[in-house]
Amino acid sequence: MSTVTAKGGGRKSKAARIAKTFSLRLGFYFLLCALSFIFLYPFITMIVKSLMTDDDLYNITVKWLPSQATWSNYDIAFRRMRFKAYVWNNVIVCGVATLGHILSCSLTGYAFARYRFRLKNFLFALVILMMIVPVQVIIFPLYKQYSDWGWLNTKNILSFLPLVVPTFFGMGLNGGFFIFLFRQFFMGLPYEMEEAARVDGCGPIRTYARIMLPMAQAPLLVCSVLSLVWHWNDYFEPGVYITAPAYRMLPSVLPNLYALLNQENHTMIQVNELEGIVFNEAMLMAATFLCILPILIAYLILQRRFMEGVERSGLTGM
């Protein structure tokens, strides 16, 4: 078919082809931009609103661009949510929990990938079950258990124990998923390395720590990023276990701020500590943005390597 038309008017069809690819390309970018707009929509709204003044918020003609950007919202939000105090709680919990996940899940995943042992299939079924059972199903027994152990209401740094300790045993937030991730990766590695190490008299634990783990950079990175992000954003478990105000996590401060705003139907609320300042939606958005800012920065730095990590971790090679 193409040969016939090509003979008739070669130049014209070439131009048409270029026009066709060009328009296809244009459509392609248009589609992508439209889709990414939907994805970025909540994010953009959040940033734009956080810069608005009180007048802008109630002016319906101001939808996207604030008439003048005010940074004072951030200042107020920063103080109102006691960002400096709470952010350290988040950093401590997320850091330790991520460390726990890296250590325990890589160990478990390695055992499942490289060894044959009795009850292996049964135990692996348990890993899958771990992924499927939502924590909400067992939250009350867990709560009771921690309360019996005296881990709740400690009013000191030990308040973080219920959030942190399970991660060192391969449990915790999405622990099953991380075990699965490491298993998939280790399954894809060649056996020769371990055999060589064994022949040279290297013990199993040293083989794991010195040879296998250093090769597992890709899943280690993916596990760290996801564990960090998920722990950072989680408000369900911290909300249940942590009652002392000083040991709250950042995301669990937000519901209080939202409640504060909703109390009087988006009208004036006098905030005691910041006398005379009205807490409005813009400040709320600023607080929300501050909440994810550290994790956003961390992600932007690690973004490229994270993507490569996902591609290399063999997660998708079921």
Partner: protein, 300 residues
């Protein structure tokens, strides 16, 4: 025993010894996880099952009394909120999961091409995960418990709305809202699909191109079959994510039953009904997909 006999017996016995030794090593690696699964998973699950069939008589030491199916009877026949909420969640999951899979696959294929601004698009599609699982998303999505909306989804433009009329606009708006919500929750799925697409050997596409296949044909004959394992994985992931999500009304309700109403037994019964449904759904997905999943022949 004679020397000969020993020599004969050595080989199998030694092999068993190695097997046992290796098995022991495996269990050494598994110790932390085994402790964890008993203490933080199996025991709470056991308690939860027990609770759902009994009545707490004393909180100290959690002494309970067997009452059979009373709690289940209660949630189905007396609790006015459970059944509607549950059905809503079931419907949402059944509608959202396929939408999520289709959209994330399309987006992954789009951003897998070589193009300008690839890094930007990849970051953009991952942003909802960062905002993601938490309270922030819940509020931004306008699904706050008290129904306050900070941000509504993409609106149908006024001009088009006028042309279509009220009833059609409502349907379109409902669909758009659903898609927006689904898209915001498909960050991880997109990343997984992307990784899967990277894993498909380029030589397959080259061979197809030489044989004169169009891109459309290549999608149906190469990309889709090769990516089936990830589709299955994503289906399971999506179902689980929707079920455990904080924005899910059922999760909210179970939480309220536990910590506000303090009806722990009914909450446990609810959790089990809820969980069993998730399990059935995942099982059905796995069974349905099983015969279509491409097996690369690698042995597990």
């Amino acid at each position: 025993m004679s020397v000969q006999g020993k020599a004969l017996a050595r080989k199998p016995r030694k092999k068993m010894g190695i097997d046992r030794k290796r098995s022991l090593e495996a269990y050494i690696f598994l110790i932390p996880w085994l402790i964890g699964i008993c203490v933080f998973f199996a025991y709470p699950i056991f308690t939860s099952i027990r609770l759902s069939f009994s009545k707490i008589t004393s909180f100290k030491g959690l002494i309970t009394e067997w009452v059979g199916l009373t709690n289940y009877e209660y949630i189905f026949f007396y609790d006015i909120n459970f059944v509607p909420t549950f059905l809503q969640v079931v419907l949402d999951t059944l509608l959202n999961t396929p939408l999520c899979i289709v959209f994330s696959l399309v987006i992954a294929i789009l951003i897998n091409r070589k193009m300008v601004g690839r890094g930007f698009f990849r970051t953009a599609f991952f942003i909802p995960v960062l905002l993601g699982s938490g309270y922030i998303m819940k509020q931004l999505l306008g699904m706050g418990a008290d129904g306050t909306t900070i941000t509504t989804g993409i609106m149908v433009p006024r001009l088009i709305a006028d042309l279509l009329g009220v009833s059609i606009t409502e349907v379109v708006q409902g669909f758009l809202d659903r898609i927006t919500v689904v898209l915001w929750k498909s960050g991880v799925q997109i990343v997984l699909f992307l990784a899967g697409l990277q894993g498909i050997s380029g030589s397959l596409y080259e061979a197809a191109k030489v044989d004169g296949a169009t891109e459309w044909e290549m999608f149906w004959k190469i990309t889709l079959p090769m990516i089936t394992p990830i589709i299955l994985m994503n289906i399971v992931y999506t179902i689980v994510a929707f079920f455990t999500d904080g924005t899910n009304p059922m999760v909210d309700y179970i939480y309220k039953m536990n910590f506000t109403n303090q009806m722990y037994e009914s909450a446990a019964a609810m959790s089990w009904i809820y969980f069993i449904f998730a399990l059935v759904l995942c099982g059905a997905a796995i069974l349905l997909m099983r015969r279509h999943v491409y097996d690369s022949g690698s042995k597990n």
